[in-house]
Every structure is written in C-alpha cells, then in structure tokens.
Symmetry: C2
Subunit: 596 residues, 2 copies
Amino acid sequence: MTYRTDHATDLDSTRIGDTVSVAGWVSRRRDHGGVAFIDVRDASGIVQVVADPASIPVVEDLRMEYCVSITGAVRERPEGTVNEELATGEIEIHADEVVVLSPSKTLPFMLDDRTEIEERTRLRYRYLDLRRPRMAENLRARSRVTATIRRTLDGMGFLEVETPTLIRSTPEGARDMLVPSRLRQGDFYALPQSPQLFKQLLMIGGVERYFQIARCYRDEDFRSDRQLEFTQLDLEGSFWTQAEVLDTVETVLKTAATEIRGGEMTEPFLRVTWQEAMDRFGSDKPDIRFGMEIVVLDDVFADTEFGVFSGALTSGGTVRGINAGPRELSRAQADVLVERAKELGAKGLVWMQVTDDGSLRSSVAKFLSYDEKTGLVSRLEAEPGHVLLIAADRWQTVSAVLGGLRLDLGRPQGHDDLAFLWVTDFPMFEVEDDGSRTFSHHPFTSPALIEDMVADPDTALSQAYDAVLNGVELGSGSIRIHDPAVQRQVFEVLGIDAETAERRFGWFLDALDYGTPPHGGFAFGIDRLAMVLQGEESIRDVIPFPKTQTGVDPMTEAPAEVDDTQLTELGIRLRPEVIAARAEDTETGEVSRGDV
Amino acid sequence: MTYRTDHATDLDSTRIGDTVSVAGWVSRRRDHGGVAFIDVRDASGIVQVVADPASIPVVEDLRMEYCVSITGAVRERPEGTVNEELATGEIEIHADEVVVLSPSKTLPFMLDDRTEIEERTRLRYRYLDLRRPRMAENLRARSRVTATIRRTLDGMGFLEVETPTLIRSTPEGARDMLVPSRLRQGDFYALPQSPQLFKQLLMIGGVERYFQIARCYRDEDFRSDRQLEFTQLDLEGSFWTQAEVLDTVETVLKTAATEIRGGEMTEPFLRVTWQEAMDRFGSDKPDIRFGMEIVVLDDVFADTEFGVFSGALTSGGTVRGINAGPRELSRAQADVLVERAKELGAKGLVWMQVTDDGSLRSSVAKFLSYDEKTGLVSRLEAEPGHVLLIAADRWQTVSAVLGGLRLDLGRPQGHDDLAFLWVTDFPMFEVEDDGSRTFSHHPFTSPALIEDMVADPDTALSQAYDAVLNGVELGSGSIRIHDPAVQRQVFEVLGIDAETAERRFGWFLDALDYGTPPHGGFAFGIDRLAMVLQGEESIRDVIPFPKTQTGVDPMTEAPAEVDDTQLTELGIRLRPEVIAARAEDTETGEVSRGDV
C-alpha cells in the first residue's frame, strides 16, 4: 500500500482539486455540524482534514494521536475559516478514505508545548515527548548543527576518523566507565573520556587534519548539565599554530550558529587571556552579553582607614567592585547579597547605593573619606540609584565573589543573543585543596615556555584555550607536547615518577619518539552548543534519550540487573554487601529502581 | 612560527622561483655529489628537496621519518631527472633552511607498501603503519564513504539522531558487553548491539526519516571479519514500503561506491528471494560475480538405479549439480573436493569430467544410464574438459555443499568488480541445532502474513532483506512490527511467555500502544563496505585502531587490570578463580597479556 502521496506542508492552494493521501497523527479533532475537522500532523507540519462520519464510519473512532492515512481531494477552505498561522491554512482535505494504521491509548500528557510536564514523566514516555513541536524542532536543529559542522570541516580538508571506544584506562580527571573483558577475564576496557591520545596518535600517523563527532563518557557525580555519555566535536591538526586552531574552530562555530539562527556573523570572537577574564569578569567562562565588569579600587583605598579594605591591601589582597546598575536595594535585599557573597567564599561584602543627592547610602559610608567616596563613584561611573558592591580579600576570592554576583545580578534570561569568546593563556597547573598540583587542562598540554614551567610551575602558563558562549564553556583545547622529553618533564612536575609514567604511558611516550609533528586541537560539546543555539536551559532537551541526574533511563529502566551467568562469563561477581543490600531492598519491598 | 606555506602537491612548475616552506617527514634520502636529495612526504604527497650539508649542517642528521620544516626556492629539475610518477616530479626545492621539528628513532619496519609485516607488529606501531600509503588511503577513503553517505541521506531529508550507548540489555542474538553502574551498584548498562529499539522509538516519536552512523558492540567469539566494536549505517523510516527502503539504501550504496570507484552505476541491483538465492547459489549471501549456478537434476534422475541419487529423491531430498567449468581434475584433486564437500555437511560428492569424446569420466558413470548421462550433460551445458559436481541429499545440505564448492572454485580474488544484490523474503524463523526455534533476523521483524506465521511458523516468510556485495553480507533490514498484538504473537511463537515478554520488553510493548506508524529500515556495516570498496581482505585494514582476534590492542595493551578500589566503587570484584589464575601467571612468570 502507499501510505501517502504528499507531506502535509506540500499542500497549498496550488494543489486544489488534486486527490492526495497524507499520513500522520490525529493532533486535534473538533466536531461541528455533524462533520469532523481533524488536524493531521506529520513530520512536516499540520493539514486539516474534513471527514463525514456518516459516510466514513471509522471517523467516529479517531482519537488523539491515532496514526492514520487519509485520502481525499484538496479543497479551498470556506471564506472566514482560513488559518494564517498554518502553512496549509488556505486548504483542507475532504476525506474519501480514512485508514487507522494504529490506534493510541489515552495519552499520559498533552503534546502541546504549553503544558508543563514533570521531566521524569517526559523521559518515561520520551517517544511521546519527542512528538511535541519544541522537542521535534530540537532534534532537527541538532541534526542540522552536526551536518553543518561536518560539511564545513570536510570542505577544509579534514578527515573524519573513528577512534576506538573500548580502550585502555587513561587519567583525564574523571572516573572511567569500565567494560569487563570476557576473553581476558580480570581485565577491563575503559570507555573514552575523550579521543585525546588516539587523535594525537593520528597526528603521529600523518593524518594532518582530523575530526570526529565522538561519543565520550565520564562517570562523574552528576551536575545539572552533565550526562554519563555526551557528544563532542573533536578535532586536531599538525603543523599549525594556536591562532590557526582558533580561526578554524571559530569558523565552525559561526557556521553552526548561522545555520540555526540565520543572519551573518562577521565580527571575530573576542579573545581574552585567562588573567584578563578573571580580572574583568571574575570567571574563566565569562558571559559577555552584559557589562558590569569588575573594577580595581586598590589605588582609591590605598590610604584608607577602613580596616576591612586596608587589611586586605596590606596582606597582599585587593579591593574591587562592580556597579550593579540602578536597582532597588532594601536592607533585606542587601542581606541576601551579603549571604550570597559568603557562599561564594567572601568574609563579607560592602554594598552601597548612590542616593539622589549623589551621596552614598551604606553601613560603611561613615568609615570612608570624602576622596575615597568620590574616587569610588568616579571609578565605578556611579549615578544616582546605582548599587555598588565591593569586595576586599585575596585576588582569587574577590574574583570569585564579584564574578558570581555579576552573574546573579546581570545575566540575561535565555539565549536570545549569542556572545562567543575565546579565553587563552590558561595556567599550566592548578593547586588542589589538599595542596597537591594538578594539570589545568590535561597532562598533554604544552607549556607556553618550558623554561618558565621548570622555574615556577605554579605561575607558568600553558598553550590551552577555551571557547565560551553566553557564559557556557563550550569546550577547550591546546597545543600539545610533541617532544617526549618535555612530556616526561610535565609528568615529573605533576609528581608522576619516571617508573609510573613508563608503566601508564610508556606506549605513548614510545610513539612520540618517531618524528611527532607539532600539533594541537580542540573539542567542544555538541550537546551544550545545541542547547544554547536552541535557547534551552538543559542539555537533556537536546539529547534524544537522556538519562536522569542519577544515570537512569526511566523508560527502559537502565541500568538493570543481569544474570549471574553473564557475570560469571566475565570473571566478576557482585560484592557481598551489594548483594545483601539488594536482598534487603527486596524484603522491605523498597524499589530502589525508582529513586531518581 | 609558520611551519609551512604550501602542501607538497601544491607545488608544480607554475611555482618555479617562489620561496616556499613545506613540512612533513623524510621519506627517502640519497646523497649524490655531496648534496642530499630528500623526499619530504606530507598528507598530500611527496616533494623532493635538494640540500647542501656544507651550508646547512643539520642536513647531515636527517634520517628516515624525521619530522621537518624546510624553506627554499622552487626550481625546475635538471633535464633527465624529471619524475613522471610524482605530481611534483618536474620541480624540486633548493633548501635555504632546514628545521628538525622532531627526530625519529630507527623504524621497526619499512613504511612502503611492498614490505610484508606481521599484523601484530603493525598494530603495535599502528601510528607508523598509518603512514604507509595504502593505510593512509584507506583512512581517506573511509572518511569519504561516510561523508558521502551523510550527504546523500541529508539531501533526502533524513535526520541524523544519536541514540544512547549506555542502554538496557536487549536480546539480539549475541552477548552484550556490560558496563557496571557506580551510582546504582549491582546494576549494569549494556553497550548496544545496534540502535534497533531506539530507532523504532524514534519512529513512534514522529521522526519519519532517521539515520545514524552508529558504533555497535558484540561480544562474540571472534571470527576473522568481526570486531568487538564496529560501525554501521543505521536507518529507519515511517510510512514507507519495503520497495522504498530498498530503493533508498540502493541509492546510498551506489553513491558511496561511485565516490570511491568512480564511474556511474545505472543498473538496478539484482533482487532475488532467499529461496531463489539458496536454489541458484546455495547461499543467502551469493557472490554473483561469476556463474556456476546450481542446477536441479531431480527429473534427470527421477528413475535412476544409482542408489545415492534414488535414495535422496525417495526420502524427499534432491539431486543438484554445478558445472565447475574447464579445469584439471586428477584423482587427488577429486579427493580434495570430496573432503571439502564432507566438511560442508555432505555424505559424499559425485564428480565427473567430460572427456574429449564427450563421455563422462567418473567413478559412478557406470551406474548411470545413457539418458541420465546425456540429460546431465545437456542440463549442465557441459563441454569437453568441464568438471561437474553433483550432490544428493536434503535440500539444505545440497545447497550448502554446492554453494560452498561454487565459492571455492569460482570466486574471483579481490574486489576489482562490484556486484551488489538484494536478498528478500527471508524465513521468519530458524530451527536451531537443539530443535528450538529462533528468529532469523530479530524479534521485531514483521511476518509477511501474520496468518501464515500462525498456521506454520517454520515455513512462514518475513519482510526481512539483506544487501550483499561480492558475497559479503553488508547488512540487513526489515519492515518492523507496529502492532503490539502481532509483537506479542511473535514472542509467543519464539517461546517467550507473556510474563517474560512483559518483564523484558514491557516498556517497548507500551510504546507500541500509542499510535505507532508502520515503519522499517536497514543497517549495513561501514567497515565491510569500506573493506570491499578498497579491495581489502580484512576489515582491520579499514579500521584506524582495530583489535586483534582476541580483542586486544597490542599498542596500548587494552584491556588491562584496574585497581581494586575502582572495582569496589562499582560494587563488583573479580571471581576467586580469576584472581587465582592471575596469581599463578605472575608466579610462573607467564605474561598472559601478550598471548593473542
């Protein structure tokens, strides 16, 4: 049988008089004057069908989301019934034949975009959720994003190369997900956190321009914008410089953004160093859609008698502030800001509001000199009604506090505008809470200058860079180390002794010994990019079948128990305490499966 | 620094006089008259550099596969030294500056395509193996194949949608690979054997045309052409018929083949039913690049007194033969054929050779009547020198035996020609060796007629189809079941009772209840397609980083041991006998890691 001759939106007034078949779902049904008016929805859109139950009895049965094939003549709609909002709004199909391809049970929720549905329910019935116009559009947009990215890179001479996903465990800052080997019981594959080492091997192998839209895996404790599996555009090239990498990625991002948002993006992305990003925005992933930049006030308060400021300055700290613009600031609202500053790591926060006469309303105003107050107003370009927030502490703390408040107070809702930027010159290492040193990017990132790294690792810069969109970190990259001696030095600074380095990375250090070209690359998250371009707040809305925060699929109930025989074949068993806990759950009737 | 201004093959006689920089690897070096002639290879090809060690001392150091950047003037080659085989054969670069970007240790093997290297060594140094021209070409070809497939489907309105790879275990005929969950200890994800159920859910979700180039996983005991992970083009559509699926996939395959092989493919693929494929070629994946088709001889021997034939016929079997064409057939060669027939399941094999005078040389000729012999010669179109092979047994056995011999005797080496075909109308079920019934394709395949399936499952046909190229099964597909009642009936025929069906597939049966459109699709292996198009004999030669037959990567030595703490976090531990075996290996100094 032929289910359809045309898609819904193929039909318009040029087709009047044609007999056509459409196939899709009953998205709405009204009965009027003994006749049924049925909106049939397919992947293209909606067309209205007029059917007379008297001559086609099955019409009586049609309910929401029945899957149907309908044949009839295209007619002009009667005057006054034209629907301007529909592409097919000038016509309707007068049904001669209605075939129910599949009935539908009563829906668990309405499929329009207006109904708010609990996310767990949406995921439980994801196949219905995907019929909603917004979700259907998200799927289409994501497909267009990846197709555009591929077309762009293909046109630039990049090869798409698939790297393995059953690999040896590598240390990239998050836990590996493991896959037990059946043929070598006791051994495990790891799922890749990224194709990092394999793309570097491709460079050694002479593939000069590589990309892949790659599935990656991180077994992290979930944050709101993370999934166990995610997708990244991964690219790498040889014989190019950081500037060339950035230009290439910038072109790719612009093409993707233009594909979804239209228009043209002629301006180059802003490029700031990590130091500048922290100083101006208090963040290494600044949202630059608004100002409210951080201003240094050290010189204004150089001789202050106000103890909080002078204490910070004499102990090597800094005094900085932001102008949060005109806004109400009751005592209660000020208290909320102070609380938030403490959450962000501050010991306190100085707030002020410029009154109509230009004086400063603040609990600390009395401690400041006339010069300090005028200096402050002038430096922060403060005008009557403006709220000023000032922090005094170590540089790191001041940046974190003012950066956080800036976002709270200034960040636009949604993603109507797109503001991309590059952050470059990241530090080579970070010091962890326990005082140990770790890599900022990953251990294969090239230092800016090897001499600087050896002299003072903790202030040394790297050739690492991030791409940021509307305050969302899209991804990061770096120029890699291509000299095995430098790679060994970096391991050493990281406290990985020679023997351990050899055991864990010997095969890779070997590879570097065979004429490794200078190379570098980048990776950005497709999920995050699609999320922002589609104006969504959660990556789960641009992933066809995402997991919940605890890694569960409420539809299939994955992960699930497996038979003991399967585990035995893999040479593994559950730990006794896990078996005991499960037995107890079963006894007490607690279904832990459902907890999310 | 700028590593290069031009790729090697950008340079030709139009560039004479230009000062250029090239970057790549020293692929050959000869010294002649005190001057070094260096072939520099980059991803585009090779260019010759002339360098004088007297003025550029570093030239003395250059060895094979050193990575270099060289700057100099493009000059015409002296008369008599033009190399017609090189794109850049009319010119050479006279080096002014030579920079060694990375030295190389002595290579473990030569990188030309002429050297035969043990595969394990190639995989151990895959990054060097990939520099060989043939492997580099395979990577490029594979990238072009996938780019072409995507472009074609994109142009047809298909959406590329990513389905999850951490899923619930599904039964598709091979073992699942498992991933222990950390957040839900005792539960496991499975890696997908295919996106089958998710693509069906996308159809239910209203995505009418879906594709994905998807990574899939099967934990099978390795055969020569299998890997634990492989890549397939997966596609599915709603509201279309089998003929439309086949036409679409055929277009995709033709476009991919044309991209690699050039030319034009105007002829439609041959389409045969499974029954016809078995009857004519003795195989459900026939290689139709040569004839040697199986011929039914039942009527010729209907009244024979030769016991082997009459026995087969009276017990419901069949007598069939192939004309293996003109060839030598010594007694020893005939014995080899008989042996091979027995391996293929036959009790014996009748062989004959037509002598110059038209009579038949065979140990059984004396048992055959004149009419039988002339009938045989005529039916098999036998001429002097031809060898005829005849089997008499159950239909299945005869088909397997003659199909196998046909391939042994007739199959062309390599893949110079491409012969695609479709095999349709597969049986719905197969009977396993233990007498149990299993699905031929998968349990979601639609029967041709539900009434036939209920009446006699073992003869019922399905709406399943395979694509075959040069005797290699590229992939398979089917029209799926969209009626939950039919799906339940199929489970029942498969011996899956209602309760088990509900437990294992309840969520999917639920989904079918919400207006599921009629749908069907296909999947084919990208590895196999690329292998045949590139004329390779092993899929490992078109996979960038394959595993060995036992699932080992000799380069990284994956899979590997992991720390107990990692396993504890996952709620699992090794079985005691595995721990004991490992301890013993360590004691005896046996390094089981290296066994492949």
